[in-house]
C-alpha cells in the first residue's frame, strides 16, 4: 500500500488541441478551392432572361454546355463571337462533332421576337445539336400571383 504513492502518473496528456497543423489544413482547403474554381470565359452580356416556374438544374458537366447568347436586338453570340443568324449551323456543327454530348444553352433575352429563336432552333437541328435548354430564372409563385 505504501507503493501507491510511487505510482504517480508520469506522462500527463496535454490538455491543448494541437494547432500546429491548422495552417496546413487551411492552406489545403484554400488550394482546393483555388484549383476547382473556374472563371467564366464569356464577357457579360446585357440580357434579361425570362422566368419560369419549372426551371430545373441541368445535370450536365460544364464542359458539355455551349452558351448561345441572343441579345434583345437579335444579335447572336457564340463564344463571344458575333454570329449571323444563318451562320449558327456552320459554327455549331464542328463544335458538336468534337463533343457529341453537348447541350446548347440558349441564353436569350426575354423580348426577342420568336422568329429569331425559331431560326436558331432550325440551325441547331441542321447542325445535329438536338439537345437544347432554354435558360430561365426560377420564378417564385408569389411573384406570379401578384402579377
Amino acid at each position: 500500500m505504501a507503493m501507491k504513492g510511487g505510482l504517480k502518473r508520469k506522462s500527463k496528456a496535454a490538455s491543448e488541441i494541437p494547432s500546429s497543423s491548422l495552417a496546413d489544413m487551411a492552406f489545403l482547403l484554400l488550394i482546393f478551392f483555388m484549383v476547382t474554381t473556374t472563371f467564366r470565359k464569356e464577357q457579360p452580356r446585357e440580357v434579361v432572361f425570362p422566368e419560369a416556374e419549372a426551371t430545373e438544374k441541368l445535370e450536365q458537366p460544364r464542359k458539355d454546355v455551349l452558351h448561345l447568347y441572343v441579345e434583345s436586338d437579335g444579335s447572336i453570340f457564340i463564344n463571344d463571337q458575333l454570329v449571323g443568324p444563318d451562320q449558327v449551323s456552320n459554327m455549331i456543327a464542328p463544335l458538336y462533332r468534337d463533343n457529341t454530348s453537348m447541350v446548347v444553352m440558349l441564353r436569350s433575352d426575354r423580348d426577342v421576337p420568336y422568329v429569331t429563336i425559331d431560326q436558331i432552333l432550325k440551325e441547331l437541328q441542321a447542325a445535329g445539336a438536338l439537345r437544347v435548354a432554354f435558360y430561365t430564372n426560377l420564378e417564385q409563385r408569389m411573384l406570379r400571383e401578384r402579377r
Binding site: L22, E56, L106, Y114, L130, A133, Y135
Partner: protein, 139 residues
C-alpha cells in the same frame, strides 16, 4: 562590460502562429466571393432533321401564342378556338391529357411574339408534366 550584453536578441524564426489566421482569412474570402453559376433552364430535345412524323390531328393540342401573350387553344380538328392566358395552360393540358394520353402539345408562336410568352407556355407544359412538345412558328 559584462552587464552591457544584449538582453533580448531577436529570434531567428519566422513567427508561424498567425499563419493559420492568414490562411483562414484567405479561405473565407474565396468562399464568400465564389459564385457558382449553375446551368438551369427548361430543356428540350429537338427532333432530328428530316424525321418529321405525321400525327393524327386529333392527338394534337394546338397552343397558338399571339404577340400580346394571349394563347389561342385549338383541340385537334375542332375548329373552335378557346382564348386563354398562359397561366391557364397547365390546367387545360392536364384536363386534355387525362382524356387522351397520346396528346401532343404543339406550341405555335407568332413570329412577332416576344420569346418570353413562348417560355411562359413551355413552362406551364413542363409544370403539367407534358413530354411531347413541338415548337413551331405560327403562320
Amino acid at each position: 562590460m559584462a552587464l552591457m550584453k544584449k538582453k533580448n536578441r531577436p529570434t531567428g524564426e519566422i513567427p508561424t502562429s498567425s499563419m493559420a489566421d492568414i490562411a483562414f482569412l484567405l479561405l473565407v474570402f474565396f468562399l464568400v466571393t465564389t459564385v457558382f453559376d449553375e446551368e438551369r433552364g427548361l430543356s428540350i430535345v429537338l427532333p432530328e432533321q428530316g424525321s418529321e412524323v405525321q400525327v393524327s390531328p386529333k392527338n394534337v393540342l394546338f397552343l397558338m401564342v399571339q404577340p400580346n401573350g394571349v394563347v389561342n387553344i385549338q383541340r385537334g380538328e375542332n375548329p373552335q378556338i378557346q382564348q386563354a392566358t398562359a397561366n391557364q395552360v397547365a390546367g387545360i393540358w392536364r384536363q386534355e391529357f387525362a382524356n387522351n394520353p397520346n396528346l401532343i402539345a404543339a406550341v405555335k408562336t407568332s413570329p412577332n411574339a416576344p420569346y418570353r410568352f413562348m417560355i411562359d407556355v413551355l413552362d406551364q407544359l413542363h409544370t403539367a408534366g407534358a413530354d411531347k412538345i413541338s415548337l413551331q412558328v405560327l403562320e
